[in-house]
């Protein structure tokens, strides 16, 4: 049997293989990486019958052109509202579809959100690097040769043919709004009370300075009361660093493992993917919650991910949606 391959004809510039990210290596300086929007990762995988954390292709704003060098494969796209076509025919959004040998899948520009996820049933047959297939392009670890996908790359697939199953649909796009919840700290004592209330009451905007490492926000400036250098300590995705400019930088999945700017607060996991999906110019409002409240928010978020995966696996007829 010939190898089943998924070929990049004309990928957009920042397509990377991502999964739920790696754990356990931060003490050696390895970032977790993983999907910027975990909910969309789960949805894309559920639509093709994969486990929620299977590796997918992540892209920003558009996905480009792809084809399959195998009898067929089942694919699904989630995340932003992308214009998806197979040989020019539009594919319904948030639904799986079969791509046959020689057909061209085109993932055009999204009308909203930033990140998109292309899942293939059975997944990509790529090696684990430090327990995960997530790409950390900055250090050349994981995914496909540790880098973004280029035109002509062929990614090995685990199956040579789309599984003989009905297509899956997701009824409603699980859109959420509301403020971006944060737990104050660990270095909220580097700021005066006015600055903290500015962070929580101010209107911030996403800017073009956003990538897998960090999102810079534009809005009210915070004032440091103890300078803006701390003794370098651990950071996690979601930490809101305030450098000398006083403008917030939200650290994302590819951020380094330690940093030397004070962290005024940390975005909770349930809202980090939503923040990542905010386009430049989009509004960002923060709301402070306690560590115990954050635990409850996280539990509800994880339960919701599970519910969505189950809903997709027992779909309503399309007509009823």
């Amino acid at each position: 049997m010939a190898d089943a391959l998924f070929r990049a004809i004309a990928p957009t510039p920042f397509v990377t293989v991502q999964d739920a990210g790696r754990r356990g290596w931060r003490r050696f300086g390895l970032a977790g990486a993983g999907a910027m929007d975990k909910m969309s990762l789960v949805i894309a995988n559920a639509l093709v019958g994969n486990r929620p954390t299977e590796a997918v292709l992540e892209f920003a704003y558009a996905g480009g052109e792809w084809t399959v060098e195998a009898a067929s494969c089942r694919i699904a796209v989630a995340g932003g509202a992308f214009a998806v076509t197979v040989d020019g025919t539009p594919v319904p959004s948030l639904a799986s579809t079969v791509l046959r040998r020689g057909q061209t899948l085109r993932i055009g520009g999204a009308t909203r959100r930033v990140w998109g996820y292309l899942a293939v049933a059975g997944g990509f047959d790529l090696p684990l690097a430090f327990g995960s297939r997530a790409t950390h392009a900055r250090t050349g670890i994981g995914g496909f040769e540790g880098r973004a996908i280029r035109a002509g790359d062929t990614l090995p697939l685990r199956g040579n043919e789309a599984p003989n199953e009905p297509e899956r649909f997701l009824g409603d796009d699980p859109e959420e709004d509301g403020p971006c919840r944060v737990v104050p700290g660990p270095q909220d004592d580097y700021f005066d009370r006015e600055s903290l209330s500015l962070l929580l009451s101010g209107a911030y905007q996403a800017t073009w300075q956003q990538d897998r490492m960090a999102y810079r926000l534009d809005g009210p400036r915070l004032t440091h009361v103890k300078g803006y250098n701390i003794i370098t300590d651990g950071i996690v995705p979601g930490c809101i660093q305030i450098p000398g400019t006083g403008q917030p930088i939200v650290l994302m999945r590819d951020a380094g493992t330690v940093g030397g700017y004070p962290k005024v607060a940390t975005v909770v996991e349930a809202d980090l993917g939503r923040l990542a999906q905010t386009r430049p110019g989009g509004a960002v409002h923060f709301k402070a919650i306690s560590m115990m409240e954050a635990r409850a928010v996280r539990q509800r978020f994880l339960a919701r991910l599970q519910l969505i995966a189950e809903e997709v696996n027992s779909p309503l007829p399309r007509a009823a949606v």
């Binding site: 754990r23 356990g24 290596w25 931060r26 003490r27 050696f28 300086g29 390895l30 690097a129 900055r138 250090t139 050349g140 670890i141 944060v182 737990v183 104050p184 700290g185 660990p186 270095q187 004592d189 009361v225 103890k226 003794i231 370098t232 300590d233 651990g234 950071i235 996690v236 979601g238 930490c239 380094g256 493992t257 330690v258 940093g259 962290k263 940390t266 975005v267 909770v268 996991e269 349930a270 560590m291 115990m292 954050a294 635990r295 928010v297 996280r298 539990q299 994880l302």
Partner: protein, 248 residues
């Protein structure tokens, strides 16, 4: 338990347990870069590993703080803090059983000596004096991070403490031996840096293909030994084990 005065005159008592989002805590043991406090951080790290507390996913030691990443589904933050307080109250053993020592060869001023001369000018020392001072000191790995395997070293002699450059330089190659602020480091992979390059070592702190990809461990002791550019070439690709003075 220890205390310091905060910016507004309030007294800060350590340890402090600070929330980092919904699934991490920063346990601060002090607010200075200091061998004793860093030894406590590593001691707490070992104590946590030995205690096998359910729900802890990973820990990230740094100069004066230990980040504890946990799964709140398995342990709630209040219980975790209580467990950590109990561990600390029980006494931490700061004497690491198997600290290792390395002698790291460095070709100073190689391939170019621009930064070395800049450091000399800024410190009022000659280039030879900078080399003698840098290679005459005992260092310890305080932090591994930012990029994979990068050892951040404490022990840099005070006359060599220099502010980092305001702007990062791109493309600092693997094997660069650098200084910045109060610290030293050995570059594991091409990266940007605002620090000063004193020379090159044949050692590679990160070797992704190997069984043990990370050369250094927290607490390892390091001395630098001057070599010539010619020796640097001859040592390229030599197994790192030869630079290990003791320990395994």
């Amino acid at each position: 338990m220890r205390g310091t005065f905060g910016a507004s005159g309030d007294i800060i008592i350590y340890p402090r347990f600070l929330p980092v989002g919904d699934s991490a805590l920063s346990v601060e043991l002090g607010d200075v870069i200091d061998a004793g406090i860093n030894a406590l951080v590593r001691a707490l790290d070992r104590a946590i590993a030995a205690a096998n507390i359910p729900g802890i996913i990973e820990t990230v030691p740094s100069f004066r703080a230990l980040m504890v990443i946990y799964e709140p589904e398995e342990i709630d933050p209040d219980t975790l803090i209580a467990d950590l307080k109990r561990l600390i109250a029980g006494g931490l053993n700061a004497h690491a059983a198997n600290a290792r020592s390395w002698t790291v060869p460095v070709a100073y001023g190689v391939p170019v000596d621009d930064d070395l001369r800049e450091v000399a000018a800024a410190t009022g020392l000659s280039c030879d004096e900078v080399v003698a001072m840098h290679s005459g000191a005992d260092y310890q790995v305080y932090v591994i991070g930012f990029v994979p395997g990068l050892p951040v070293l404490g022990g840099l002699p005070a006359p060599l403490h220099l502010s980092r450059r305001p702007e990062h330089r791109q493309g600092i190659p693997a094997g660069s031996v650098m200084i910045g602020g109060m610290q030293g480091l050995i570059v594991p992979m091409t990266m940007p840096s605002g620090w000063y390059t004193l020379g090159q070592t044949p050692l590679r702190p990160f070797n992704p293909g190997e069984n043990n990809p990370f050369l250094f461990r927290l607490g390892d002791r390091i001395r630098f030994r001057p070599i010539t550019a010619r020796e640097l070439d001859a040592l390229a690709g030599v197994s790192s084990d030869v630079y290990l003075d003791n320990g395994t």
